[in-house]
């Protein structure tokens, strides 16, 4: 079985732990509970008949990615950068954040940008953010409704398998 380490990162309060819980346990809690350090767990999924163990690191949110200990990124095959569609502070500096992640992460790691909390915004707001943001997102999710959460990790898993082959 293939094992891949995936990092969930981004500013605090953007919903990384909620995505983590939704993906692994299929559950959501409205109450905000900050993550301290890192939470680690895994989920085995099957993609095209192949079993893939996704080892998810849910990292405590930091305003700037350079505050995250570099050791967390050791051996990470995938990095999921999450931001909150309702809070400009979580995406206003996204280009620099992604550049930093590319520099400190494995050169072959796959980076996904996720716009979370789609359940809290309408289409007009989404278009407004799309016009404003420096780097387009890869997927819009809602950890609350589960929208695109499984799809995000499955797509990332598929790309990781393709890259491994």
């Amino acid at each position: 079985m293939i094992s891949k380490k995936i990092i969930l990162t981004g500013s605090f309060g953007v919903g990384k732990t909620s995505l983590f819980n939704q993906f692994i346990y299929n559950r959501f809690d409205d109450k905000y509970l900050t993550t301290i350090g890192v939470k680690v767990n895994k989920k085995v999924i099957e993609i095209d008949g192949k079993e893939l163990s996704l080892l998810i690191w849910d990292i405590a949110g930091e305003v700037s990615q350079d505050k995250v200990p570099n050791s967390y990124f050791l051996g990470a095959s995938g990095i999921v950068f999450v931001f909150d569609l309702t809070r400009p502070s979580t995406y206003k500096n996204i280009a620099n954040e992604i550049k930093y992640l590319q520099e400190i992460g494995d050169p072959n790691s796959i980076i996904k940008v996720v716009a979370n909390k789609s359940d809290l915004v309408d289409e007009e707001k989404i278009n407004e953010v799309a016009a404003e943001i420096q780097r387009p997102w890869d997927v819009i999710t809602s950890a609350k409704t589960g929208e695109n959460v499984q799809e995000l990790f499955r797509e990332l898993g598929r790309e990781l398998i393709d890259a491994a082959e």
């Binding site: 509970l33 900050t34 301290i36 680690v40 163990s53 050791s71 051996g75 809070r87």
Partner: protein, 367 residues
Amino acid sequence: MQQNEKTGIRHLSKFSQFFLLDDRAQLLASCDSIVATQHLPQRPVTDWFPFLESIFQQVKSLQVDTAEIHFQKITIPHHQLPGIYDFSFRRIQLREGAFLLWRIFDYTALYEDLQHYQQRRNELEIHREMLELRQRQMRSRRDLNDGFNLVLENFNHLQIAYFNHLRRALQSPVNMLDGFRPEVTLQAANATQYYIQHLSQLLQHLQSAMAEWQSYAPATALVEASHFSPAALVQQLGINFREQLGQPLAIQFASVLPERLQGDQGGLWQILAMLLYSAAAYHPDSSFELEIRAQVAGEVAHLTVIVRESLGREQSKARSDQDDLQLVTRLSLARQMVEWQGGQIRVSNDAKQLAIAIELNLNYRFA
């Protein structure tokens, strides 16, 4: 401080535990101070510990002389390690060979306090961001409203100016036509009277249109302040009256009349012209008089102008309902214009066959 008998590794009981691993992640020894390893299945540690699974390839590459790797504040949800721990990895050299030393340190109590503080800090920060966002939205909305109001105000000014311009452009010719019409009608031949009737209808349309335009231009905006001499204004009016109608206009000035006033000079001219030319149509033998006087109150001059016609309507003159309607319309227009300027108009006697006096009261500031 305790020392493991087998490996000689020292550790703080309860707060830390060591695990000695080979390169296949097989557990060789532990002190069992936090996790009871004797109950774990005889499989690689990575199988029951996802954190280690995710990092083992990197840990395995450690050499005896390379620095220890530290990971702080690790939580593994729903695991037999329920707290928050720090992990460290290093390769050590023992008699039997080089092995991986994994140590865990239980700082749960400390990190829970830190988590509590971090929770509060993050909540406050998110709250502050949301407040800022809301304030920015409110500012944007207010700016938008201000902008909209400015556009609306400019539009109103433009509208008022436009309709005022139309009204002013047409007022004098309409007054003149209106004044001449009855006299011309009497002297004209039948054929010409047909055209004059049409002209009268056209005049009525114009007067109606002007009344409508006035409704688009609020009273306050009609006042286009300019400096003028009330005496000079009525003298010029008298000259025009004589030139256009061939009749003299007697003008009575009060002994004390302000030299210069500030206000809607054009509007005053139009009102007086409208009243005089209308009065001129009453009787061919009428004489006309205009009296002007002022009463000063602080910075304001209360101007009173009285237009007098001596005979009233000619008894023998056949007058139609249309003529009466026109008289009412003209007086109504004059009244409206006076009221727009904040003044009053009073007709002291408008009964048929009697002399008419129309009194205007308007306020002006001193120039």
